[in-house]
């Protein structure tokens, strides 16, 4: 028998990366379809949060004569129904899950492969979106039937929204990944992650629309990444942003993606040197 020591030839770089994303997304969809019921219950649990906000704000708006700070009940309904889609879209591999990844030995397996670590999560969660968005549609119709949203977006707003929800996904992936690096220094990072989530809730437009916040909070939010993961995508569809505001918002997202990626790369290269992989 002859000995075959030749290396297998490689396919092209960009074509392979595209192939990797498509294959991983397909794998994610296949995996998630195994858990249809779990996914639905997960989504119903997640929908509870905006429904509570929605009920509270529409009640207040009704008591205030139909609007709060110029936002009507119908606009609140539109905001929080679109919120549910944006929330599904910006679910990423969260910072706390890095601990699971390290402890279970999954990171060791990923490190052995010739692929930059971020690609695994970006591709997998991107695939997951297709399952959750398909499951979200009937829920959105149900919420619309109950709360009567006021929503009449222009074609440009729809196009910007499509880009913005993927931009939000990327911004959030980079920053959650960067914060997740803390797991390489401590196994008790939960307090920091909770603090990060609390700040995100307040400054992103997740808890309340940012225009209901004090002026200085709105200014601060403009210079932090959080708004671009929640508030901006929602506003791009339901708000009355000018074309300039829409395009500037996309540019801000692009900037935060680059900043987040650089931060991730720096923290990752420091973190990986601390990886001990003991027992796994």
């Amino acid at each position: 028998m002859s000995v075959d020591v030749a290396r297998l030839p490689e396919a092209g770089r960009w074509r392979s990366l595209y192939d990797f994303y498509v294959t991983t997304m397909r794998t994610a969809i296949t995996s998630q379809l195994q858990y249809r019921v779990t996914n639905y219950f997960y989504m119903l649990g997640m929908i509870a949060e905006p429904v509570v906000y929605l009920v509270v704000w529409t009640t207040i708006a009704d008591q205030e004569g139909g609007a709060v700070n110029g936002i009507t009940s119908g606009e609140f309904a539109a905001y929080y129904i679109v919120w549910t889609l944006v929330r599904n879209m910006n679910i990423v591999f969260g910072a706390p899950f890095w601990e699971w990844r390290i402890r279970e030995g999954r990171l060791a397996g990923d490190l052995l492969k010739p692929m930059y670590i971020l690609h695994y999560d970006l591709a997998y969660f991107a695939g997951w979106k297709f399952v959750v968005v398909a499951m979200w549609l009937p829920i959105a119709f149900g919420l619309s039937a109950v709360f009567h949203p006021t929503l009449s977006p222009s074609a440009l707003e729809i196009v910007v929204f499509i880009f913005a929800i993927w931009g939000a996904y990327l911004v959030r992936s980079m920053f959650q990944g960067t914060v997740g690096m803390l797991n390489f220094w401590t196994t008790r990072g939960a307090a920091v992650f909770d603090l990060y989530m609390a700040v995100e809730m307040l400054l992103s437009g997740r808890l309340v629309p940012l225009q209901l916040m004090p002026g200085w909070v709105q200014t601060l939010a403009n210079f932090l990444p959080f708004k671009w993961t929640f508030g901006f995508p929602i506003e791009s569809l339901v708000g009355n942003l000018s074309t300039q505001q829409l395009l500037l918002g996309l540019c801000a997202q692009a900037l935060w993606i680059v900043i987040g990626l650089l931060l991730f790369k720096v923290t990752w290269s420091a973190a990986i040197k601390r990886f001990v992989s003991v027992g796994n």
């Binding site: 028998m1 000995v3 075959d4 020591v5 290396r7 297998l8 030839p9 490689e10 396919a11 092209g12 770089r13 392979s16 192939d19 990797f20 498509v22 294959t23 991983t24 794998t27 296949t30 995996s31 195994q34 858990y35 030995g105 999954r106 060791a108 397996g109 490190l111 052995l112 492969k113 010739p114 692929m115 990986i272 040197k273 990886f275 001990v276 992989s277 003991v278 796994n280």
Partner: protein, 327 residues
Amino acid sequence: MPDPVVHVAELTKIYKVPEREAGLRAAAKALVRRKTRDVRAVEGISFDVGAGEVVGFLGPNGAGKTTSLKMLAGLLYPTGGNALVLGYVPSRRERDYLRQMTMVMGNRNQLQWDIPALDSFELNRAIYRLQRADYLAMRDELIELLDVGDLVRKPVRNLSLGERMKVEIVGALLHRPQVLFLDEPTIGLDVTMQKRIRTFIAEYNKRHGATVLLTSHYMADVEALCKRVIVIHHGRILFDGALASLADEFAAYKTIGVVLQNGGAPLDAYGEVVHHEGDRVSIRVPKADTSRVAARLLADHEVVDLTIEEPPIEDVIESVFAQPAAV
């Protein structure tokens, strides 16, 4: 002389481990001042491995063998020393290097849990940038070699431990790596499955000329696959050479088996009688005295047959592991 595939020089790994005494007082003290201790997992090991060699990395739990393999696979940054595998520094984890090696960790699942292994193989094809025709040929070859044709269509979670290990190995070798780091690949498997995996590793080595570094607590794995072994203990190499000469170095005794004409003769004066059944007697004697004792037995008794045996490899390894750590 060709360059070695694996070159290790003074490779060292030191872990910093927090520690404190038990109790509330010690816990309160640790709050103010945390004490850590340096654990020298691997301490200045050096060796070379040539192309196509299968080398057994032996040592008790905590000896440093897995840490060494992980450094060579690029999972861990060494604290000191150098390592080169296929000319690459593993800790840099260059794509080109990762594409030519693999590491299989027994009992560790790297395939997607909820879907059939075939889907995970597809993912690996994309990760390793394999061309479809090469991938299919390699996949089918491995499936045939390990006889897992009917397993790869089941979700991985439905496979038994041994079945899972076999499909894990297929997934890990799809890119036809030239260097294999196998960390206890047969752990927890029944003897039939162990044998199957051993046969497979030998066949893969033969077909593809791959270099293999293997750790295992099962001596049958080592005896079947490795002509050369490296024994590591307390982070240091105690022995590096042919498996056959391990006993010469470390065995303190040999066993003389004799079949006597007059079976009842007492032989306690020659050494420790470890077995006596009818005419057959086994005597354990210090290694240095073997020839002299054998000669005396032949001179003093009517010997029908006489054999001199090395102790079982397990006993030799046990005596190596019993060595205290250097201070």
